[in-house]
């Protein structure tokens, strides 16, 4: 098991607006506090895929080549709530060998809670 350096990323509502435009995901729960609360959410939340895109960015910044990734995914267990003043997520990756392949688990924390469960977002790298 080898660890990648921990990195912290800020998330603002402006980022979510930009991501909505770029991804086509205009679900209002990612932009509108009232609508988010009306469906039982604690407030505006980041798109799960925004956070997973940040994980992909993190992997790249840790030296993982896009073409080497055979799988990337995660289970969204806690939303990244983005108040008007913004939020922060912290990522720490750890790699382990699985047969011929390497599996990188990225633990993502927001307000001290795990965003992906149970072992973080997972990337599988080709040998």
């Amino acid at each position: 098991m080898s660890d990648f350096e921990t990195r912290t990323y800020s998330v603002t509502r402006a980022d979510l607006v930009a991501y909505a435009a770029a991804s086509g995901d205009h679900n209002p729960i990612h932009q509108d506090e009232e609508i988010a609360r009306s469906v039982g959410l604690p407030g505006v939340i980041a798109h799960g895929m925004f956070t997973l895109a940040l994980v992909a960015r993190y992997l790249g910044e840790c030296g993982v080549a896009t073409g080497d990734v055979s799988e990337l995914g995660g289970k969204f267990v806690k939303p990244v709530v983005v108040p008007a003043e913004g939020a922060e997520v912290t990522m720490t990756g750890s790699a382990r060998v699985d047969g011929d392949e390497t599996v990188v688990a990225v633990e993502v924390l927001c307000d001290g809670a795990k965003v992906f469960g149970p072992r973080g977002a997972q990337a599988r790298l080709r040998a």
């Binding site: 435009a21 896009t66 073409g67």
Partner: protein, 134 residues
């Protein structure tokens, strides 16, 4: 949602052309710069999301009641500029828990030659009205 939906596939929306501008916008929205080469790893969600919207429209589901529970991509090759991607979404599983529908979908992303580029598997949580209003 009715259990008969399991196994049903939804026709792909119009093919999605991958442009450099689309990749640059997507990368910029998560604080990256796109400088050529393969698309960001999660970029296939863009055509996959459009396919999901087709599924939600067909089922008359309001997007604001849908939360993404899980997502995985398995890649055959990276997406590149010039790809013309089509996505066929299939409902793989349906569970009903506490008034919510938990829908498992599989989205096959293919190129202009019909070759598989990647497969997205997702879990969507459709929050029931009663639960949200409690």
């Amino acid at each position: 949602m009715d259990a008969s939906i399991v196994g049903r596939s939804f026709p792909p929306p119009a093919p999605f052309e991958v442009t450099e501008a689309a990749l640059a916008d997507f990368a910029a929205s998560v604080g990256q710069s796109y400088d050529g080469g393969p698309a960001p790893l999660t970029f296939p969600i863009v055509p996959a999301f459009a396919a999901m919207m087709g599924f939600l429209a067909a089922e008359e589901i309001d997007l604001s009641r849908v939360v993404h529970g899980e997502q995985k991509f398995s890649y055959e090759r990276p997406v590149v500029v010039g790809d013309l991607l089509s996505v066929t979404l299939t409902v793989a599983t349906l569970r009903q828990i506490g008034g919510n529908d938990i829908v498992g979908t599989t989205s096959a992303v293919t190129d202009a030659d019909g070759a598989l580029v990647c497969t997205g598997t997702a879990t969507l949580v459709h929050r029931g009205v009663e639960e949200a209003e409690q």
